[in-house]
């Protein structure tokens, strides 16, 4: 089987993502037709057009940081005539959520692809080294104890701390065996699970909010979250993509990879760190959304093969599309459900179907 050509596959998946985003924006309590949605969406496209001088503030991880003299100026190249109400609904309510969903799905699927390749294990997903549990501890602590720091910042910090702890525990003499990493990750996840449960027991009135966060959600997303998450996710993705070939060679086994000129431990450290950051960025804004990072890479591997130079971007785009679609489902019912429930409820049966067809036996 010749690997499918890169460009058509990625263009197709990109087009599917755009189509899903637009279609998703037509859905809601007020139905808006596709043409209007498209115009409003194009109107919302902002292009960075240089820096404006003056005292501005930049929100970093939900914290307003005054950055004198540096703030991005956007130019909006499109200005179609759209009814104000429709424009507001699409641009201020639906699009932030949809775009954030796309970024989160993109990030989780990319991280899942990398983790499965890294661990050469079909069960690996982005949270395997404790990132999601760490984020959950941070977020639940923020909700329950109302510590005053923004929830997203707490979640991000918790995620990075947990991943770093797992890495340190599994590393000895500068070497990090993946099996040890995997087991340390499982142990830390279990431990953090206990911490979360303990906090939930003492949550009192905030219990409902905490549980809602834990289920994974995209409600009340803002452009501010998009502005922080988008560059973080793309930057991390760019680094992962540069290492796609190294990840291919790592699949041959670490000793083989070493014999082929890969600096194995250094490459593992970079992959682990960047995959953790991209996962943390997603989990911090959307909570623990399961199955995207597990199932999407498997499905795409069946379609495009194991070469990460095409698999990684293809998975990321498909993950974005999948999460946007799942979130559309989550919010289109009579009562909104957390998107994590939808991804698991849809993803698990689909995964089982694949298993029964015996096509998923290896990474």
């Amino acid at each position: 089987m010749e690997s499918p050509p890169r460009a058509p596959v990625l263009l197709g998946l990109g087009a599917a993502l755009v189509a899903t985003v637009l279609a998703s924006a037509t859905v809601g309590p007020v139905s808006i037709d596709l043409l209007t949605v498209s115009k409003a969406a194009l109107n919302a496209v902002g292009v960075p057009a240089g820096l404006s001088v003056g005292v501005g503030t930049t929100r970093i991880l939900g914290v307003s940081v005054p950055l004198p003299g540096v703030s991005l100026r956007y130019a909006y190249p499109f200005s179609f005539a759209v009814a104000d109400s429709s424009e507001t609904i699409v641009r201020q309510i639906r699009l932030p959520r949809i775009v954030l969903g796309a970024i989160v799905g993109f990030a989780l699927a990319a991280a899942g692809t990398v983790m499965q390749g890294f661990f050469r294990n079909p069960l690996a997903d982005p949270s395997i080294i404790g990132v999601s549990s760490g984020a959950a501890v941070g977020a639940v602590a923020a909700i329950v104890f109302a510590v005053g720091l923004p929830l997203q910042a707490m979640a991000f910090a918790g995620a990075i701390l947990a991943a770093f702890a797992v890495y340190l525990i599994a590393t000895r003499d500068g070497e990090t065996p993946v099996a040890t990493l995997l087991l340390a990750g499982v142990a830390i996840q279990t431990f953090l699970g206990a911490v979360i449960s303990y906090m939930l027991v003492h949550a009192g009135e905030s219990l409902e909010q905490a549980i809602y966060w834990l289920m994974g959600h995209l409600q009340n997303s803002t452009w501010g979250e998009v502005e922080v998450t988008l560059p973080a996710a793309f930057l991390a993705f760019a680094v992962l993509h540069v290492y796609a070939h190294d990840l291919n060679v790592l699949l041959m086994g670490e000793e083989d990879a070493h014999a082929l000129g890969i600096e194995v431990e250094r490459t593992k450290r970079i992959l682990l760190a960047v995959a953790s950051v991209i996962t943390a960025a997603a989990v911090a804004v959307a909570g623990v959304i399961g199955f995207v990072g597990l199932v999407v890479p498997h499905v795409l591997r069946l379609i495009v093969g194991p070469d990460h130079r095409i698999l990684l971007p293809a998975s990321a785009l498909a993950g974005a599309t999948f999460l946007v679609a799942a979130d559309t489902l989550a919010r289109s019912g009579p009562a909104e459900v957390p998107v994590g429930i939808v991804t698991a409820a849809v993803g698990a049966p689909f995964f089982l179907y694949l298993l029964r067809r015996k096509e998923v036996h290896t990474v």
Binding site: M252, G253, E255, H258, A259, G261, E263, P306, T362, V363
Partner: protein, 412 residues
């Protein structure tokens, strides 16, 4: 090109390499032979930089391999690993292209990649597999793909761990011939090879590894000896010369629980040769003769280091020889008459008269080998009456049997 200098490697308390010294020059193909667990793979892993020795140095060219980055090391040493299993559905061409990894820079493409991959596929006769998924190949096909990958790596030094382990005879020979060619193109090649005969045939030198040491190295014929089989491999066997390739031929035998009897073989020819061989293989202590110089049985006996009495062709058996053989027969538990030729003096019959127990093997009719007339035939027939007569292939088994019950009764 490769210089291994007093290398020690221990895994925990187990000393796997215990002071290994070895050099491989450019253009030289050195084979590592030795039993399982001797340390061959560990030595290869030390040479390609995967393992850092506890003490000692490995130089490849001018550089200490362990001081190099893995990129620099992999430009100097290409490795064909023992385990070529791949669980991922890469195409063969992709796997071979991975050999170009050390020549690739992160942000630009490798201009030689396509040409090198094509050439490597062609030389290993895997071009037809190019677009196949590597996880659907047979073990032998995969092994050749991994050799192609090492070729694409374009390194002056080649390290191979059992490159022919899962290849059929034809492909094993093709692959080693290719490796031989690669060495002749002035690469330094070090390979662990299980098949001793192939190793002897294609390598310039062999290094015999045993218990973490190189116990012998040199020309294949000097290293591969019956004693080496015994000391290093703990195997019973015999090293002869393959008449076609003129390289050592190794025959190993199963260890036996039977045997242990003293056997003398009289007679000769093809039948005698086969009886000497099979009794020796079954673990009996064999002596043989008298055989004439050009007798097949004599050359087998000589090869197996069996004491053998020899007579010049077409000459009467001299007194000294007769005495020597008599002594051997007297000492033997069993004497085997293998298609004996009866000379006018019926020497063989006289010798056999003294045997404690007689086994007769006949494949030619007596008339064809009796030059002793009626008297010769009578003497032979009388021997035959008290002997056990069996086919040649049954001899070792008969030797293991206890003497017949009538003998036991007679002793009572």
């Amino acid at each position: 090109m490769i210089r291994v200098d007093d290398v020690h490697v221990a895994f925990g308390d187990v000393e796997v390499l215990d002071g290994v010294d070895l050099t491989v020059e450019a253009g030289e193909f050195v084979g590592l032979v030795g039993p399982n667990g001797a340390g061959k793979t560990t030595l290869l892993r030390t040479v390609n930089g995967a393992l850092t020795p506890d003490s000692g140095d490995v130089f490849v060219g001018e550089d200490r391999i362990h001081d190099l980055s893995s990129r620099a090391a992999s430009r100097r040493v290409a490795t064909v690993p023992q385990d070529t299993s791949v669980r991922f559905a890469f195409d063969v061409a992709d796997v071979v292209a991975m050999g170009r990894t050390p020549h690739r820079s992160r942000f630009s493409s490798d201009p030689d990649r396509g040409a090198r991959v094509d050439a490597a596929l062609e030389r290993t006769e895997t071009t037809h597999l190019r677009d196949r998924r590597v996880d659907t190949l047979s073990g032998g096909e995969r092994q050749r793909v991994f050799v192609a990958r090492a070729l694409a790596q374009d390194a002056p030094t080649l390290v191979l761990d059992e490159p022919t382990a899962s290849l059929d005879v034809n492909h094993a020979t093709q692959t080693l011939a290719l490796v031989r060619e690669l060495a002749d193109e002035s690469r330094a090649v070090l390979a662990a090879i299980h098949d001793l005969e192939s190793a002897a045939r294609f390598c310039d030198r062999l290094a015999l590894v045993h218990d973490g040491r190189i116990v012998d190295q040199g020309e294949p014929a000097d290293v591969l000896t019956t004693e080496a089989l015994e000391t290093a491999f703990d195997a019973r066997g015999v090293v002869t010369t393959n008449p076609v390739t003129d390289s050592p031929a190794v025959t190993t035998l199963p260890s036996t629980t039977g045997g242990g009897r003293r056997v003398h073989v009289l007679g000769g020819g093809e039948t005698g040769a086969s009886v000497v061989g099979s009794c020796w293989a079954a673990g009996h202590q064999v002596s043989a003769g008298p055989f004439s110089h050009d007798d097949a049985a004599r050359s087998v006996a000589r090869t197996l280091d069996v004491p053998v009495e020899t007579t010049p062709p077409f000459a009467a058996i001299d007194r000294a020889t007769v005495e020597a053989v008599s002594e051997q027969i007297a000492a033997a538990d069993v004497t085997v008459l293998a298609d004996p030729v009866i000379d006018p003096a019926a020497t063989v019959c006289r010798l056999a008269d003294d045997a404690e127990r007689l086994v007769v093997v006949e494949s030619r009719p007596l008339a064809e080998r009796n030059y002793g007339g009626d008297r010769g035939r009578e003497r032979y027939e009388s021997l035959r009456r008290r002997a056990t007569v069996v086919d040649a292939d049954r001899v070792p088994a008969v030797l293991d049997e206890k003497p017949g019950p009538e003998r036991v009764l007679a002793d009572d």
